[in-house]
């Protein structure tokens, strides 16, 4: 019956919900009908168009009024995010930061984030948190400590001959940025009689990219698998100020403990 483009109309049998007509056929009929204006449609459709207009107007007005300036910070539907203050404050603070040396900045970060476990003395807590002062990991190459700070560490660990059973260190990659991790590592490697060289944000950034795929924290075997003297790629000169650190320097000779 495909060859017949307009199948015949069947009887409407009132209540019969049997097979009087295929809806498809009915619909073919309505397609033909729509070309000629049907009486009684026009006034209604005018009302309908008015309703469309009303809905569009009201919806648009609503969106305009409560848009919160279409910004991601505009939590308040009437707008009013305080952004001017933020940029000013950030600028002022940035200059302030530049005055401090990396190790000084690192000290602040350490006291805020690390001292709870490792203590300001760098001695840790016997049996629970390993010491940093004199630690072979801290004083070795830059790669091992940077790995641990970025991804955290879990499980048993032996430092300076002491055994630490259940120590867990959280990953800091989400909390601290490259600059801050570099600063705090620089501080740790030069404080308490430690003899490590400085770490630059570029090195951390490179390592972060290298380890981007890893989700888990390290365990002791992971760390031991890395040579003790392994350095991070693209090391910068010792004590370099942040703005000088962009120039690539030859890897610093690994300081031995």
């Amino acid at each position: 019956m495909n060859e017949n483009p307009s199948p015949p109309k069947r009887v409407r049998q009132g209540m019969d919900y049997g097979e009087t007509q295929e809806v498809q056929d009915t619909h073919a009929a309505i397609q033909r009908e729509k070309l000629e204006p049907r009486a009684g449609l026009e006034p209604l459709s005018l009302w309908l168009i008015a309703l469309y207009g009303l809905a569009v107007f009201f919806g648009g007005a609503y969106l305009g009024r409560y848009s919160g300036d279409f910004s991601g910070d505009g939590l308040d539907p009437l707008g009013g995010a305080q952004r001017s203050k933020k940029t000013g404050a950030a600028g002022a603070a940035a200059t302030q930061v530049a005055e401090l040396s990396p190790a000084d900045r690192g000290k602040k970060i350490f006291s805020a984030n690390c001292a709870t476990c490792h203590q300001m003395t760098g001695l840790g807590v016997a049996g629970q948190y390993p010491p940093l002062a004199g630690s072979e990991i801290v004083n070795g190459g830059t790669r091992r400590p940077a790995m641990i700070v970025l991804k955290g560490l879990t499980g048993p660990l032996t430092v300076k001959g002491q055994h630490f059973g259940s120590a867990v260190m959280q990953p800091w990659e989400k909390t601290l940025n490259d600059q801050k991790i570099a600063d705090v590592l620089t501080f740790v490697r030069q404080e308490w009689g430690n003899t490590g060289g400085p770490v630059s944000p570029e090195q951390i950034s490179a390592l972060r990219k290298e380890l981007a795929g890893r989700a888990d924290s390290w365990t002791e075997p992971d760390i031991l698998a890395v040579p003790e003297t392994a350095e991070l790629p693209g090391g910068a000169a010792a004590g370099a100020a942040p703005n000088e650190q962009s120039k690539p320097a030859a890897p610093t000779p690994a300081p031995k403990t």
Binding site: M1, G18, L51, V56, G59, S67, L75, L78
Partner: protein, 500 residues
């Protein structure tokens, strides 16, 4: 039963349709064709329906349990899988994925086959799909009860169940594409737009949500955005599209009259696709989100008045003069009830999402009322209607008892009406007392308890209605329906009504 309709005289024949004397033979050919189509869909559609009804009964029992838990919280507190939070999630997912989606797919398969005028190829594909889907829902509900829920509303199924459901869905969808490929006739009817859209939208939103929540999870509050975007689209674009498509088929089909206006249908469809997909974020109103995103959804909700009014008007004008038929036809009665509820659902949606109102009703039972208005009063009722129409054609006999159909209709209608009313009023009271900081917080939860008891009562009605329907459906499955040349009318037919 296909032959029972070959008598009668044409009353509304358009001029072009005045054709040759081959007309009768033509009709007979069509009838044979339809009979073949129905026969080819029998096994998969009945399988989808049977599974859906089993899930409906289980979901109803869980709902009753959860409802009673709200005012008797110490019941079974020692049993982990009967705690309120797990039972509620299990109920909701069973209803959405077990009942609504399976019933919707069953109806969609039959409608598609009829409208594409082609027999169902590879029914085994669909049977496998249904089996996998059942397995996925079972796995998901089991996972929720065992304490594996993901915590995203409407998406609680653990990821492993989600994968099974997705595979099942691909089987069903590959069939739908196949069907479209082999369709005959060059017009695509309105129902087919909605069904095709639903079948294409679902895998996109389901897949995208799985990816954005579990595979590459988005950060923080964006997860809430993704999950509510999904929940809303599941309601509007998946279930809503199937429901509207079914209404577009059933009303003109039963009364035997063309749909009022093709133009209205086109406008209704495209504005629906455009605006309904933008709603959803209003459920996160005043939360930690950019205000523009919420407001955009509220504006889209307001704009949804356009498709709702258009579709509603189209159905109304189609029905005009034929409303008395609702006295007789179960299909029409359920379908029209559903279509009217859809309008009510949308209007309530607009009212509760306006910021001034949302401030009061956010975090109250009103959102539960809203969900039931959409999922039950609209979608479920339309599905019942389509089952009353389709099942006799599949099993070859008529519904046994008109009285059971009537009982089913009235207990469903009163049940859902009472539930929605109770939860709307209760939620409003709850919100008003919650926002009054001089009242203690427990007063706001205490104030809603009487309404929750009323809701439990409505649950009893709905439970009764579902068991009646399942019993009746079971009779049909067993071939215990009536063998007659006329369908089962709700009331004795009076001649002047039958031929309006």
């Amino acid at each position: 039963m296909e032959s029972m309709t070959t008598t009668g005289t044409a009353t509304s024949r358009p001029p072009e349709a005045q054709r040759s004397s081959e007309q009768v033979t033509q009709t007979e050919i069509e009838n044979v064709e339809r009979a073949l189509i129905d026969a080819s869909t029998r096994v998969p559609v009945l399988m989808f329906y049977t599974s859906a009804i089993v899930w409906l009964l289980l979901g109803t029992l869980l709902a009753g349990f959860a409802s009673f838990k709200l005012h008797s919280p110490d019941m079974f507190s020692g049993i982990s899988f009967l705690t309120f939070g797990r039972v509620r999630a299990a109920h909701m997912n069973m209803m959405v994925y077990g009942w609504a989606s399976m019933a919707g797919m069953g109806t969609a398969i039959w409608l598609m086959a009829r409208l594409c005028r082609t027999t169902l190829r590879h029914p085994l594909l669909l049977v496998t799909g249904a089996a996998f889907w059942n397995f996925g829902v079972l796995l998901g509900v089991g996972g929720i009860l065992a304490g594996d829920s993901t915590g995203y509303e409407w998406f609680e199924f653990p990821a492993y169940a989600g994968v099974v459901i997705f595979v099942a869905y691909l089987l069903v969808m590959s069939w739908a594409v196949l069907m479209f490929r082999f369709r005959r006739g060059d017009t695509i009817y309105i129902t087919q737009w909605y069904l095709l859209a639903a079948f294409l939208w679902f895998p996109w939103m389901y897949g995208a949500t799985q990816v954005m929540l579990f595979v590459v999870p988005v950060q923080g509050v964006m997860q809430a955005v993704v999950s509510w975007w999904y929940a809303n689209n599941l309601m509007f674009l998946w279930l809503g599209s199937i429901g509207l498509g079914t209404v577009y088929y059933m009303i003109p089909k039963v009364i035997g009259r063309p749909v009022y206006s093709y133009n209205l249908a086109t406008i209704g469809f495209w504005t629906y696709a455009l605006f309904a997909s933008w709603t959803g974020m209003q459920r996160l109103i005043d939360g930690p989100f950019p205000a523009w995103m919420i407001t955009a959804s509220i504006a889209a909700t307001i704009l949804c008045i356009i498709p709702v009014a258009t579709v509603g008007l189209n159905h109304h004008m189609t029905m005009r003069g034929y409303f008395p038929l609702m006295r007789y036809s179960p299909t029409l009665r359920f379908t029209v009830f559903g279509a009217i509820s859809y309008t009510a659902f949308s209007i309530v949606g607009v009212i509760i999402s306006l910021r001034s109102m949302a401030r009061i009703v956010q975090f109250t039972q009103v959102s539960v009322a809203y969900s039931h208005l959409g999922l039950y009063a609209f979608f479920t009722m339309v599905m019942f209607g389509s089952m009353y129409y389709i099942v006799p054609r599949l099993v070859g006999c008529e519904w046994r008892y008109a009285s059971l159909i009537k009982l089913h209709f009235w207990s469903s209608a009163y049940g859902v009406g009472l539930m929605v009313l109770m939860l709307l009023v209760g939620g409003l009271v709850q919100g008003l007392s919650m926002n009054d900081a001089t009242l203690s917080f427990t007063e706001s939860t205490q104030s809603v308890l009487p309404y929750l008891r009323g809701r439990s009562l409505s649950g009893v009605l709905l439970t009764a209605s579902h068991f009646i329907f399942a019993f009746h459906f079971g009779l049909m499955l067993l071939g215990l329906g009536r063998t007659a040349s006329v369908p089962t009318f709700l009331n004795p037919v009076e001649p002047e009504d039958v031929h309006p």
